[in-house]
């Protein structure tokens, strides 16, 4: 009996050694890349539009091309994925597990500002670069100083608001709109921060805010708010809204035949489902983000994304997410080995060619951003910053609802 047990144990030990050897051999051929992302829970819609599809497309592209060139050797990507269930504690646990148990070479960031800020200390502690594309905060520079691996790609909220104000100011100066603005915002951090900054900027630019209210997160009927906004006969509707509200605001405006010359709605405007839902009615609608759809890279990307995933990408953070992964790949290839500290340094200091053009971080911030976009035909073009190369001239007034 004893002999049998020890024999069995020996067999097990040999098997275990063989497995671990096989694992080690495999680890030399592939780059292990992990991520913890919200596949379920309230963040799943956002992560499912902007982040996860791009991870999948990029991994496929890299592996189809034979892998990432690390010091002359092509290494394919092996993916380890966890669902953080939209819970920041789960996400942190999963990131720790990716680093300590799965021993991945790189970790791709979670979705949303909150999740990325929650993840920053742990990414830093474990020594992984964090390309936090979907994080949008005015504290970006300060945070990058504290955690140098943490980088920002979407522009600051203040840059977005500046872009909005500058756009409105210009079309007012051109005599295309009067100075009356109706502003509505969702009553959470995003809405409060953005509307606060916009209020100050718009007043300074000589606008009169005829309606200025916030509504609770999750409101299911926007018609009462819009009736009062419409009553002030503004030339501009500016809404800092979330996707369900963005759709509800557009629906209600159509029903009320409320068609201000500038119709600006918040998150969700850049989603392909917006265009799919409103068709020609989307023409001239403005929102946050945008992309320069005249760039060959962007054209290729939109088509490619559709071919691989089966649906078009959103036109704000999606192209940037893909571009950030190109940056990661190029940084690894330039360093030539899986040295995270060196790759982090290269991301921070190098200059990279991506689908959205050249990217060079300044103090951890990408400057290749769009603050304001507008639907022109099939695409949501960047229109501001007004002086950025590729900025499309704004169309005012917006055509009637269709």
């Amino acid at each position: 009996m004893r002999i049998t047990v020890s024999a069995a144990l020996r067999t097990l030990a040999v098997a275990a050694a063989a497995v671990s050897l096989a694992g080690a051999a495999q680890a030399q051929d592939t780059i292990k890349i992990g991520w913890a992302i919200s596949k379920t829970g309230p963040f799943a819609p956002g992560a499912g539009i902007t982040t996860l599809p791009n991870y999948q497309v990029w991994v496929k592209d890299v592996n189809d091309a034979g892998g990432i060139n690390v010091g002359g050797k092509k290494m394919k990507i092996e993916v380890i994925e966890y669902d953080d269930r939209s819970n920041s504690e789960e996400m942190i646990k999963a990131v720790e597990r990716l680093a300590t148990q799965d021993k991945v070479d790189f970790i791709l960031p979670p979705w949303s500002t909150g999740m990325n800020l929650a993840a920053a200390p742990i990414f830093h502690k474990l020594g992984y670069p964090q390309l936090a594309v979907t994080a949008n905060t005015n504290k970006a520079e300060e945070l990058h100083k504290r955690w140098p691996g943490l980088t920002f790609w979407l522009g600051l909220p203040s840059e977005i608001v500046d872009g909005i104000v500058a756009t409105f100011e210009k079309i007012k100066k051109d005599g295309k709109i009067n100075n009356k603005i109706a502003m509505i915002s969702v009553a959470d951090q995003f809405g409060i921060e953005m509307s606060g900054a916009a209020r100050t900027g718009l007043k300074k630019a000589g606008f009169e805010i005829v309606y200025d209210k916030s509504y609770p997160f999750g409101s299911q009927d926007m018609q009462p708010v819009l009736k009062d906004a419409q009553a002030g006969s503004p030339d501009v509707l500016l809404a800092f809204s979330y996707p369900p509200d963005t759709f509800a605001i557009t629906d209600a405006s159509k029903v009320l035949a409320f068609n201000p010359k500038v119709f600006f709605v918040g998150v969700g405007t850049a989603f392909p489902v917006y265009k799919a839902k409103y068709g020609e009615g989307a023409e001239g609608v403005m929102g946050i983000g945008g992309s320069d759809a005249s760039l060959e890279g962007v054209k290729w990307y939109i088509k490619h994304h559709k071919d691989v995933i089966g649906k078009e990408p959103d036109r704000w953070a999606s192209p940037i997410t893909y571009a950030s992964l190109q940056v990661l790949q190029q940084a690894i290839e330039r360093v030539g080995k899986l040295d995270r500290a060196a790759v982090t340094k290269e991301i921070n200091t190098g200059s990279f060619d991506t689908i959205i053009g050249k990217i060079k971080l300044e103090n951890g911030l990408s400057k290749n951003i769009w603050a304001v976009g507008q639907w022109h035909g099939a695409d949501f073009y960047g229109v501001a910053p007004l002086d950025k190369a590729g900025a499309k001239p704004v169309t005012v007034p917006k055509p009637a609802w269709k």
């Binding site: 009927d221 996707p243 369900p244 209600a252 159509k254």
Partner: protein, 292 residues
Amino acid sequence: MTLALDILLSGLVLGGMYALIALGLTLQYGIARIMNLSYGECLVAAAFGALFLYAGLSVSPLLGLILVVPAGFALNWLLFRVVLTPLVRRARNAAMLEVDSILATFGLLFVIQGVMLVAFGGQLQSYSYLSVPVHILGTTLALNRIIALIVALVIGLGLYLLLTRTRYGTALRAIAVNPAAAQLVGIDMHAASALAFAAGGAIVAAGGVLVSMFLTFSAVMGVVFTMKALIVVIMGGVGNMLGALVAGLVLGVAETAVARLVDPGLTLAVTYAIFLSVLLWRPTGLFGRPAR
């Protein structure tokens, strides 16, 4: 005056939607005695059904009702027979059944959500159907929302009459009041409960199809609807059709009035203020009778 009328009509239309999504739950919770936490997921599943029919096969959501509602009935009947009847059988009292059904349907919530995530993905879904203006007494309303109100009124009043005026309705109410005694007078409790639960499922399916015409939804949004439905059901008195209808309409009008007259930021606050005051002064709901 025109403002008051405007608020009243817009509020009724919003309230109609609240009532519509609550009617099924009040049947399931009040009559079949199952506190169905996966209720919102059932609603979203029906919404996906409507979207699939509309976007995939160009079947109008209203026609889609003919398919989705019987499917909701059948699936919920099966669910009750297979998953929930054992709980009903072994429950020694109402409190135990309540706890067991909450736990079981909590699990079910994730099953339904998981299936929807696999089938449709996590992203937001939105389409337009009958989003056209209708002018009534100087107020502009969206046709799809008016339809939801009308359906809510028809179902609510119809079921109310069914429950209070017919022999079978009396049997159903008997189960709600005292399931043990109901069996003594020859009512087949399990069959009747299954029917009530399935009818609740059919109503939530109708609700899901109708709200999908004007609300943006995703596979993970069910809990939003469960919460709203639960508030309306408890406010109206558990198991009371008329109560759910009135409570839904009251909430809709109150929210609209506050949004127009005070501040849209306070609509959630007023919902919970009304809910709290009803609970304080009439703990069994607007139309509920004190527990005996």
